[in-house]
Symmetry: C2
């Protein structure tokens, strides 16, 4: 694409560096910005700069936070004996939105993936071990809230081995047929697993 | 969605004001920005601000430009006797990319649409009339490069009536079966029209 303006070209190029945004979408966004008031654009740009420059990560759980310790770790209403281990902030948001969990979190910042060159030392595993083994720790259980993929399972296996030495219970979120899903359309592995780890009626 | 950080919340809200970007996509983009170096974000933000604050519109054709008169209007290699009338800058880009047109453009900035409250006075029609009727005008033909919709046809009809009084030829880009399209899947109106306005072999 050849642009009649260097300013447009540069804005389109910058926009299209974002994941899932190609040149055409970038151009559509840029032309939309041009149709709006000037402060529409400056507001967006300023909030991105503010966010990037001032964001902090909670010292305890590594979740994104505006302060040194995040609201969840600070709260007195949360159950300090359970930690849910997740890959990134989006997972914390997703679990919080269910309103079914009242414990703490620990954000790994990724999962072990040899293909992408991510090893255990790139994640916040050491910090988790410190958190669990510290003298004032109340942690009794760690829930693995990781995706049911090869990488997720590898990560869970690696960490559970380390954690078990400390006498902490581990568990994983249930895998099975999604609520509302049709049994006949479920893949074999999921269906097989949902039979093996069936839930007993009480 | 509830966020653990006001900074994230504000960045997501700003991003999701853009067309086609919802809260989930906005969050994905924001988290991507957080994973990159700080200047990745500031570069994007700065280029948007620069673009919005410094962009100009060509005084002659109203296309987006870095200067008072755009490169196309300024060029000595273009045919000054033809003007292609288009809705917005994207259409100029699309036609330029074909390398099949060597005339000038005139960007209307929209099309007449009573439903959206856009009337002839909101478009650059007056400026077009001035351009065509001025004493040093070389314009002999105006091509309507508008979308084949109700609004596009209305706009073309309105302008062609005005322009004809000045003794300028008008034409419209061909409508018919797209190259590579299957005849049997073409809609009736397009197929009908493609028969009526068939092209004679010479």
């Amino acid at each position: 694409m050849e642009f009649s303006s260097k300013l447009i070209e540069s804005a389109v190029n910058e926009f299209s560096k974002l994941p899932g945004i190609g040149k055409k979408t970038a151009l559509r966004l840029v032309l939309h910005l041009l149709k709006q008031e000037e402060n529409f654009t400056t507001d967006i740009a300023q909030s991105l700069i503010d966010m990037r420059q001032n964001i902090k990560y909670c010292r305890k759980c590594h979740n994104i936070s505006d302060e040194e310790i995040c609201n969840i770790c600070k709260s007195h209403k949360r159950d300090n004996s359970i930690i849910c281990l997740v890959e990134d902030t989006r997972d914390v948001l997703a679990i919080e939105n269910t309103s079914q969990y009242n414990g703490l979190y620990h954000v790994l910042g990724g999962i072990i993936s040899p293909i992408e060159g991510i090893g255990p030392e790139d994640l916040t595993i050491d910090s988790l071990m410190e958190r669990v083994s510290s003298s004032d720790s109340e942690v009794k259980e760690i829930i693995f809230g990781l995706s049911p993929t090869m990488e997720g399972d590898t990560t869970a296996f690696y960490i559970s081995k380390k954690v078990k030495q400390l006498g902490v219970k581990t568990s994983t979120i249930a895998r099975g047929i999604p609520i509302g899903g049709e049994l006949e359309y479920a893949d074999e592995i999921t269906l097989g697993r949902s039979i093996v780890s069936r839930t007993a009626y009480e």
